[in-house]
């Protein structure tokens, strides 16, 4: 890292750098305190006379397409992560850039995956300067070991949209993997051999990048219907053998946890929704694809049937378990941000009530509202939570990067944000005095459900009142923490973190919430 970081203490009391990758930063001011002004970012004016009347925008390969886009040193290249660990396109694009001989690119994926560890070599060679996007596995270690030249910037899905919209990040070239596309550039994720369902994460890139390249392994004659990405935003189309490994793009079957302890947590979450009166006709919820979240959906489904309750909509990450709710008439709609398994992909392709959404509809800070705050309850995970309900989702307790933020921060705006977690993992307590990396302010987190009891944030007296007299194991978070520390043989030692920032965690509004420090 070339720059010597100046640190400031933000409203959450965390020390954060004031200058990151050459850009001044605003320390977190408090939830809802930052009021951005000005006009949104925009793209250069284009004219259709410069594009073929035939609508055929195909070029030979990615290298040719990147050359046509005018790829230069220091540009920003973006990708989406709908193909997850099966994605071939991001590395294909970065390697094509290496072949052209450019240096110091900023890679801006909506998330990175372990299979993209080839990016490390490209950073070593100087092709990539740094990554702004979630990093875990080998890339996460590379970053937290302080080897990346620039600082990592971790944003939520909504925060990424915000950064693109207000010009904090300007994408020079977006390379969009498309399971189906036509030669005009219309693209869809729910059909084709590499189908992934929604393409929502690429929506911002397609509308705000200077240049847009669509890469597909399933070229359809015009028109590609439906078009999740509009060809009118697309410069070039590249046909390749394979955009990814279907086995790793979606799981064939999503597995519910079989751990009795985790099943207990899932059931306690479902019971909480029922007892608190949240599970009522016309309600809505969001749950991810983790083992506990999937099991939660199954328990809730049973309770909805018993009580004759129907949801108006559920938010995905969709899986076959949400699809079953839709098919059994227990929800009117699935509003789906990303599709985790084959049942989800098929459902989105065939059922008009299974709707693809994007971070624009769901999470964007600069939107005129978004869906996240309309959801009645959301079930999330975390690596740590402290006694004031502050939570960490991005690092292990020892400070190494573990997860991206994903939609996690954005979801905290729902009516009731629930963290569902085991009270300790191996021997490591999950409830701590202070989280290693602050990812979600405690005022946004309403309930923590563990196998040893359910803690309601004292700020939510309404929820405490609602579950009073129920059989739920309601306890104070401090009480659960004390019990777990007794089991684990005392408080864990605090991990030794370095004093050099290697990444920052942004809040949904673009301010800096916390710092990820170099370790090891």
């Amino acid at each position: 890292m070339s720059e010597r970081a100046e640190l400031a203490h933000n409203a959450a009391g965390r020390a954060v750098p004031t200058m990151v990758n050459g850009r001044p930063q605003i320390p977190f001011l408090g939830v809802g305190k930052f009021q951005p002004r000005g006009r949104k970012a925009t793209t250069p004016i284009r004219s259709n006379k410069d594009y073929p009347d035939s609508g055929d925008k195909r070029v030979a390969d990615l290298e040719a397409a990147l050359r046509k886009c005018g790829l230069r040193d220091g540009m920003v290249i973006s990708n989406h992560h709908h193909l997850r660990d099966g994605d071939n396109v991001a590395l294909m694009a970065l390697e094509a850039a290496a072949k052209i001989g450019v240096k110091d690119l900023l890679w801006f994926p909506s998330a990175s995956f372990p299979s993209q560890k080839g990016a490390i070599e490209l950073m070593e060679k100087g092709v990539i300067h740094h990554i702004e996007g979630s990093m875990n596995g080998p890339l996460g270690d590379y970053c937290t070991q302080g080897k990346m030249r620039g600082m990592g910037v971790l944003r939520s899905h909504g925060g990424r949209y915000q950064a693109i919209q207000d010009g904090e990040v300007h994408i020079d070239i977006a390379v969009i993997a498309a399971p189906t596309a036509d030669s005009f550039g219309n693209a869809d994720g729910s059909h084709g051999k590499s189908a992934c369902g929604s393409l929502g994460f690429a929506f911002a890139d397609s509308t705000y990048a200077d240049h847009v390249i669509v890469v597909t392994d399933n070229l359809a004659p015009f028109p590609c219907v439906p078009w999740q990405i509009q060809g009118n935003n697309v410069d070039y189309v590249v046909e390749v053998e394979s955009i990814g490994d279907p086995a790793k793009i979606v799981s064939g079957t999503t597995q519910i946890t079989r751990s009795p302890d985790r099943l207990r947590i899932a059931e306690l979450v479902a019971k909480f929704l029922r007892e608190a009166g949240i599970m009522k006709d016309g309600f809505s919820f969001q749950a991810g694809a983790g083992g506990i979240a999937l099991a939660f959906v199954q328990y809730l489904k049973q309770m909805m049937k018993e009580d004759g309750v129907k949801a108006r909509f559920v938010r995905g990450g969709s899986t076959k378990f949400l699809v079953e709710l839709l098919q059994e008439g227990l929800t009117d709609y699935i509003l789906d941000g990303q599709t985790f398994d084959l049942d989800g992909v098929k459902s989105m392709a065939n059922d008009p009530r299974h709707v693809a959404t994007s971070p624009f509809t769901s999470y964007n800070y600069h939107g005129k509202g978004n869906f996240a705050s309309l959801v009645d309850a959301v079930v999330l995970g975390a690596t740590e939570v402290d006694v004031n309900f502050n939570a960490n989702v991005v690092t292990h307790s020892d400070g190494r990067l573990l997860h991206g933020i994903g939609g996690w921060q954005n979801c905290l705006f729902s009516g009731c944000s629930i963290l569902a977690l085991p009270s300790f993992r191996d021997r490591i307590p999950v409830i701590v005095d202070e989280v290693t990396t602050l990812t979600g302010p405690g005022e946004m987190i309403d309930v923590v459900v563990t196998e040893r009891g359910t803690a309601v944030n004292p700020r939510r007296q309404d929820l405490l009142e609602a579950v009073k007299g129920s059989k739920l194991p309601i306890r104070s978070i401090q009480d659960i923490k004390t019990e777990v520390e007794k089991i684990c043989g005392g408080k864990p030692a605090r991990p030794k973190l370095g004093d050099r920032p290697c990444a920052i965690v942004k809040w949904v509004d673009g301010t800096v919430l916390d710092t990820v420090w170099q370790v090891g």
Partner: protein
């Protein structure tokens, strides 16, 4: 005596480690002649508990009288009571620590268990798998069984005993009755020597065939209780698993005042008969009826076997309901997922409870009026029926079916 004997191995090990191992620890122990105690640690929780593990290991070794040794600890996130047990097992295997124990701090004992307490479900916990212990009570079985018999490999019995002893001492099992299944005699007597001091509530005896076996265990428990100054009861539940055991059901049930329940092990029993165990269970009809009748005749509970297909919840329900209808009061669970279904199956039906509540109300009314005869409407209720209703209402309350 603190030195190792000539024949004892200089290098021993205990516990488990590896990618798939959780909440356990492996201890490699080597006796040295000089140089003090040398400890090396590899642990997935080292940044958080590394210092604490090394400190604990030193304290345990000191308590066991180990002066010179090389100890390599490979920890997979084991809790302190497990670490202590594994170190002690490794040390004992080297022939050291004779007459010494390293007991972790004691969790307060739960209230003593009543002879006729609710025993719908008992959850089996393998005596070599510490990861299952700490959360077992959260799944609310009526009892947990720390098993030293079939789930523990022959060569691991010594280590399992120490682990079970530490578990009884430190793990909070909430409202669960704390049972231990010992091995067949005479090995079972060694089990008793290690665990009775920690006041288990009940000892399960496998493959009992003669009342004398029960009497022997009863006597041994009595002696150990006296030695440890334990006055709370430790009940006995013989498991009948052979044709001979079934034939001796009554004398076995009546062998001691401390027998609280009789149970049956169908896997071994059907093997002894040389028949297949079926879902319907015709092959064990006689044995189960015999156990029931003998238990009732001796005034103790009759408890059914386990249902071994954890995926078949409907089968479990049918088995449990039929079992209750026969007169059994509970059964074993080999997975926490079975507990709720077993509780449902052994709960009295709503109509039964309602009828019993009416009888109890009539009884109470007769009591306040000083009447000897209880009547409901135009019908007179016989005293045994009243007794049964009182018991049923009390049980339903204990099960949380009514308040």
């Amino acid at each position: 005596m603190s030195g190792a004997t000539e024949t004892s191995p200089r290098s021993t090990e205990a516990g488990h480690w590896g990618q798939d191992v959780r909440s356990d620890v492996h201890v490699a122990f080597e006796v040295l002649d000089r140089g003090g105690v040398e400890i090396s640690l590899e642990s997935r929780v080292a940044p958080y508990y590394g210092d604490s593990i090394v400190k604990q290991a030193r304290a345990v070794l000191d308590e066991l009288g180990v002066r010179h040794a090389r100890v390599s600890i490979h920890d997979e996130g084991a809790l302190p009571f497990v670490i202590a047990a594994r170190i002690e097992a490794a040390v004992r295997r080297a022939g050291l620590a004779l007459g010494k124990r390293s007991l972790p701090a004691q969790h307060p004992l739960p209230p003593p268990s009543a002879k006729d307490r609710l025993r719908r479900s008992r959850l089996y916990l393998p005596g070599s798998e510490p990861k299952y212990y700490i959360n077992a009570a959260l799944h609310t079985p009526d009892a947990v069984i720390l098993d030293l018999e079939d789930s523990v490999h022959r060569g691991e019995k010594d280590a399992a005993r120490i682990l079970v002893r530490n578990t009884l001492r430190t793990v909070d099992f909430g409202a669960c009755e704390r049972m231990v299944r010992i091995n067949q005699l005479p090995l079972g007597l060694e089990d008793l020597a290690d665990v009775v001091g920690e006041s288990p509530d009940l000892i399960l005896m496998p493959k009992v065939e003669q009342p004398e076996q029960v009497a022997e265990v009863d006597r041994m428990i009595g002696e150990l209780k006296a030695r440890h100054g334990i006055i709370r009861p430790i009940w006995i539940m013989p498991i009948l698993e052979t044709a001979l055991g079934i034939e001796n059901a009554f004398p076995i049930a009546a062998a001691s005042e401390n027998v609280a329940a009789l149970t049956i092990g169908l896997e071994d029993y059907t093997a002894d008969l040389g028949v297949a165990k079926t879902l319907v269970g015709h092959e064990s009809q006689y044995a189960r009826t015999r156990v029931l009748n003998a238990a009732r005749a001796a005034g103790v509970q009759a408890i059914d076997s386990v249902f071994s297909d954890v995926a078949d919840m409907d089968g479990l329900r049918r088995w449990g309901e039929a079992s209750r209808a026969m007169g059994f009061e509970g059964m074993g669970c080999i997975h926490p997922g079975q507990i709720r279904m077993v509780h449902e199956a052994f709960a009295p039906a709503a109509v039964e409870i309602e009828k019993a509540q009416k009888i109890v109300a009539a009884f109470e009314e007769a009591q306040t009026k000083g009447l000897a005869v209880v009547s409901l409407g135009s019908k007179m209720i016989d005293p045994p029926v009243v007794q049964r209703a009182l018991k049923l209402v009390e049980r339903a309350k204990a099960m949380g079916v009514i308040s």
